[in-house]
Amino acid sequence: MKKIAVLSGKGGTGKTTLATNLFITMGKGVLIDADVEEPNSHLFLKPNIQDTKVVKKKYPNVDQEKCNLCGACGDFCRYNAILPAKNKVLVFKELCHDCGGCQLVCQQNAITYKERAIGKISTGQLSNGLTMHYGDLTVGEVSGVPIIEQLHRMVEKEDWVWIDSPPGTSCTTVAALEGVDFALIVAEPTPFGLSDMKMVVELLEERNIDMAVVVNKAGLGDQELHDFCATKRIDVLAEIPFQKDYAAHYASGELLSVQFPEYKKIMEQILDRLLKKVGN
């Protein structure tokens, strides 16, 4: 199995555009949209949704009758999610990381776990028969990590997986990189774009993941991005020129590779070079 993550330093660099067009151009595998706070690859791929699963997360529930307010659970919890107070134990559900520790240290057996929904995963089929899954974090929830973990479990048996990752370097990005063989960074040649991208490169280096860059809106900026890639020995797989047509087309929610043959050529070129790097 090969897992390819498409990442970017910040949102709006064309990450979803690249991930969806590569997926369609390749015509095989499955795509997961792990940008769970703002999933939008389904808006371009337009899957026919066949299944929606609720993603749940556990949190402790304290039996105040059994509890003797010894304080052990609060001392244990690294996330300040459980707080023994004067007459009862407070639980802050959203802070709980579901580590199971408080139950383990409670001598009174006062702690059990309850579940609550934090989001959902939708699965659908594209008109060409390919499958995609996208996660959707409920507004107000703090961490999409459990949703991303479940997305990974759903595609365990696939041969080829495209991951539309969350932008930046948050813990959701780290979760999206689980088991990834190769990362494609989408970068824009602007000073801001470059500094955001450097953080992504650092994250990938830390995790020992091979990477390459695709420059989006090439021709808008300067040489700095290329210099950076050269010193880091990161290959630039392609440069997608800035074109007004593309922007207008993107806004209409259509896939560029379907409409523009020269764009499709660029996708084929990227796939070709990518396959040489990761093997098929």
Binding site: G74, Y79, N80, A81, L83, A85, K86, N87, K88, L90, F92, L95, V142
Partner: protein, 123 residues
């Protein structure tokens, strides 16, 4: 024991603009006028700083705390530990803020009308 969110240690310190991530809590014992301070270990927490700070105050036997604001979680914790909480508005020193409290100029936040959600309410 009164606690005040403070930017540094002692009565002349300026009050803080935050509770859970306050640098220090200056403690003042009304019975014997003794002063102490706690380094707020909760300020480095990535989440749940408010609840942890309340626990620190409880361990230091604080029964009144003067704050600039209080999030909903910290408010739940303050109530569960039965600590009274009053809000200051002006950026004064700790000493001046304690005097305002003693003169009844600060508004109590954890009274019957204050629900756990009041920290979120917009005016």
């Amino acid at each position: 024991m009164i606690a005040v969110c403070a930017k540094s240690q002692g009565l002349d310190a300026l009050v803080e603009e935050r509770f859970g991530r306050a640098q220090y809590f200056v403690l003042f014992n009304e019975d014997n006028s003794e002063v102490a301070f706690i380094d707020n270990a909760a300020k480095h927490e990535s989440g749940g700083a408010g609840g942890m700070a309340v626990r620190l105050l409880h361990d230091a036997q604080v029964d009144v705390v003067l704050v600039p604001e209080l999030g909903p979680k910290a408010m739940d914790a303050i109530k569960a530990f039965e600590i009274k909480v009053y809000r200051y508005v002006d950026k004064k020193t700790v000493k001046e803020t304690i005097e305002d409290y003693q003169n009844g100029l600060l508004k109590r936040l954890d009274d019957s009308t204050a629900t756990s959600k009041s920290g979120l309410r917009r005016v």
